[in-house]
């Protein structure tokens, strides 16, 4: 846990200036002016404890901390911020929800606010204020945070995951760019393998990367875990087609993907052993920041996930909503802080700090400078718009979040792709696991 001060922020100003972030007096002046006109006035002596997911791009963390420090100075609110790994955010937020103490705000994954709808502060006014001011919310973002007409949290951003590839390898395979349909995409992967420049996508218990591409394959075939009434429909001919397609694709992969976690493809790609994978922008950012990988960074590009037989984008992206607990002693300060984070003067600079790792959920930020600062970033700017909520066509909530966390879809595909089970058995097993959750 750390307590940010104006002094520490000023000391770290150089790093932030490099990303174009408002630093020093300019940031504090904006914050003061905002605090005076904002709809929510922080309670005198307010103190907020904030838990967030651990950053992957250091400059994003710097930008976030700068916002926190400016808010503190402008409103007089004491801010304690600490980070946890993705897996630990939900349990710790749940403990706070159960005990009614410990945290004021929690920033986590997928449908976090839906886990304890009776314990969160309704954010209707904040969502309304921001939505009207910044062109409305993307559909998946709103669904992720809304229950009926109530906003249980605010969808701060989406961590976009797309295809990262080596241009030279794709061209050598006979393609000008990564194809946008499933059959041609498979042909590309076959050609990459033939040229000994293989693709590779995580088939292990990788929370982000494995769920990312496998849901694209599943949903792209118009196959779903549950229907709109939350009836389990995974056992279907469409799922079988998705399984067959994924198996054909996996046969072109670099060996070892069944053991991959979320960091494995980054390592393999940066070491020059992998030429096409699905990931956030962190691979490219790491290559750009390493002077010894200049050539690699120039050869890297990004592409959207291909569209399957369903005929439209059907992607699972990593939503990161924030919530405030209703037992907080400082509800106005909590709302003010969330609104402050998403104001243009902060948010666009924050996106720049994240360097494409975070994607906006408010439509007005589609034209944020980060998406044009480097043409290779542009793909990630579409993540929130192309995404479906974690539930697919079903109801977002704790059951959908559980299904993802329990790797049901991942295990179904992994069982079939590795030959551990036949398609019918793999589907039946997934169906049973889902019925267990949706009972």
């Amino acid at each position: 846990m750390h307590d940010l001060t104006r002094r520490s922020l000023l000391q770290g100003g150089t790093a932030l200036a490099a990303t174009g972030m408002l630093t020093g007096p300019a940031l504090f002046d904006f914050a003061k002016a905002w605090a005076q006109s904002a709809p929510w006035k922080a309670e005198p002596g307010a103190k907020l404890t904030v838990m967030r997911w651990k950053r992957f791009v250091p400059a994003e963390d710097d930008a976030f901390n700068a916002m926190v420090a400016a808010f503190k100075t402008a409103t007089g609110t004491e801010m304690n911020v600490f980070s946890e790994s993705f897996e630990d955010v939900q349990p710790k937020a749940s403990v706070a929800a159960n005990t009614g103490s410990g945290l004021d705000l929690a920033w986590g994954l997928h449908t976090l606010p839906q886990l304890f709808p009776t314990k969160v502060l309704k954010m209707n006014d904040v969502a309304d204020y921001l939505g009207k001011k910044y062109g409305g919310w993307t559909d998946a973002a709103a669904k992720t945070c809304k229950q009926g007409d109530d906003w249980l949290g605010i969808p701060v951003a989406t961590i976009g995951g797309y295809l990262t590839y080596r241009k030279s390898a794709v061209e050598k395979a006979g393609f000008k760019q990564v194809p946008s349909d499933f059959p041609a995409y498979l042909e590309l992967c076959k050609a990459l393998k033939k040229n000994n420049t293989p693709a590779g996508f995580a088939l292990g218990h990788a929370t982000g990367d494995a769920n990312l591409w496998l849901h694209n394959v599943l949903w792209g075939h118009n196959a779903w875990t549950v229907d709109k009434d939350d009836k389990v429909i995974i056992n279907s001919p469409e799922t079988m087609k998705a399984l067959d397609y994924a198996k054909a694709l996996s046969e072109t992969f670099i060996p070892g993907v069944a053991s991959w976690n979320d960091s494995s493809n980054n390592k393999a790609f940066l070491s020059g052993e992998l030429f096409l994978t699905g990931n956030g922008i962190s691979v490219y950012v790491a290559a750009k920041d390493d002077p010894s990988k200049k050539e690699l960074a120039e050869d890297i590009d990004h592409a959207l996930w291909p569209v399957g037989p369903i005929g439209k984008p059907a992607e699972l992206q990593l939503a990161v909503p924030i919530l405030a607990f209703n037992f907080t002693k400082y509800p106005n300060a909590a709302k003010a802080f969330i609104a402050f984070m998403l104001e243009k003067e902060n948010f666009e600079k924050w996106l720049s700090g994240a360097r494409g790792y975070l994607t906006q959920t408010l439509n007005a930020y589609d034209s944020a400078p980060v998406w044009t600062a480097d043409p290779k970033n542009a793909v990630f700017g579409q993540a929130s718009k192309r995404a479906l909520p974690a539930s697919g066509i079903g109801t977002p909530g704790e059951k959908a979040a559980t299904a993802i966390a329990d790797f049901i879809v991942v295990d179904m595909f992994a069982n079939y792709c590795t030959g551990a089970k036949d398609g019918k058995t793999a589907m039946a097993e997934a169906e049973r696991q889902l019925k267990r959750i949706y009972r």
Binding site: S94, L115, S264, A268
Partner: protein, 319 residues
């Protein structure tokens, strides 16, 4: 006057019947109870209560974030038909049996070796302990790197020696992955077995070996009829703990494979954590944990009743 006035009052005090409280204060049996009370409270609050709570949770649909309701044996019924659960049971038994057996064999061999006269014996004994003092997660991360599908030092070396042409898919293949996690567990667990058995060996009287030597006994006969019988009680205790530690292992698996590939290394402990904490289903996770209890009780019973048997204690065959 004063004496006269006080005398009846004193007599009245002396004839007062002892109250229950007086008995509890002065009875020696109760005194023993009072001394045991802190230990009893400790056992109740830190051992019995969590165990009881875990078992209770297994009969509820409690989720992280909300209180559950009593659902009877529903969690267990779902587990009964859950192939991943049964796979985790199989993995746990395989992991425990194979790792414990090899740990015992290697540990006993090392203990016998370190009990011999040899140069740098103290240094070697200290070196044997190294795997035990390295934090589990650190050693698991080291093994994760050693067995990495792309960057394994073993694959790298064998490739450079021309032995193999492709990386060995250590953690990506189900059989290899099981072998790797068992190997890592053995590496970590051998020092405990070796050092404890060595301590036991040092309690054996040298005069017994001298007598056996005079009788012309071979080294095998000395081990079979002197060392082994006297070591049996220690072996029983060491192996009980070794089996318990192995059966409930979590860190090594979680850091190395997270139960993968395709759940081939999921133990009951890791599956319980995944279901209860990661997926938020506390009731179901508690049911998986509770399902471990019969196995653990069985392991304890074998050791407990074995130790009670005089003949076994003396290294002879059971009745």
């Amino acid at each position: 006057m004063a004496d006269i006035a006080l005398a009846p009052r004193r007599a009245k005090t002396e004839i007062r019947e002892a109250t229950t409280w007086d008995q509890l204060r002065h009875n020696k049996n109760w005194l023993g109870f009072w001394f045991m009370l802190p230990a009893l409270a400790f056992l109740i609050f830190f051992l019995a209560y969590p165990l009881g709570l875990g078992i209770w949770l297994s009969f509820t649909d409690t989720r992280i974030g909300r209180v559950g309701h009593f659902v009877g044996t529903e969690n267990y019924e779902w587990l009964w038909d859950d192939s991943i659960f049964w796979l985790s049971v199989f993995n746990t038994l395989l992991y425990t049996f194979v790792a414990s057996a090899i740990k015992f064999a290697v540990g006993l061999y090392l203990a016998l070796l370190l009990n011999e006269r040899m140069p740098f014996k103290a240094l070697l004994r200290a070196a044997v302990l190294i795997p035990f003092i390295v934090p589990t997660v650190l050693s698991a991360l080291a093994f994760w790197w050693i067995f990495d599908s792309q960057f394994s030092i073993i694959s790298w070396s064998l490739k450079h020696l021309g032995v193999i042409t492709q990386n060995i898919n250590f953690l990506g293949d189900t059989t290899w992955a099981r072998i790797c996690v068992i190997f890592a567990n053995i590496w970590r667990g051998v020092p405990f077995v070796a050092i404890t058995l060595l301590a036991g060996l040092q309690t054996v009287q040298p005069s017994l070996y001298e007598a056996a030597t005079l009788d012309g006994a071979s080294r095998w006969q000395m081990f079979r009829f002197i060392t082994y019988p006297l070591l049996t009680p220690i072996i029983a205790v060491v192996m009980t703990f070794s089996v318990l530690f192995t059966f409930t292992d979590f860190q090594l698996i979680w850091a190395m494979t997270r139960g993968g590939p395709v759940n081939a290394t999921h133990l009951m402990a890791t599956l319980s954590y995944q279901r209860a904490i990661i997926a938020g289903q506390l009731g179901e996770g508690a049911a998986i944990s509770s399902a471990m209890i019969p196995f653990l009780l069985a392991a304890i019973m074998v050791s407990w009743f074995g130790l009670q048997r005089r003949k076994w204690q003396q290294g002879e065959s059971n009745d």
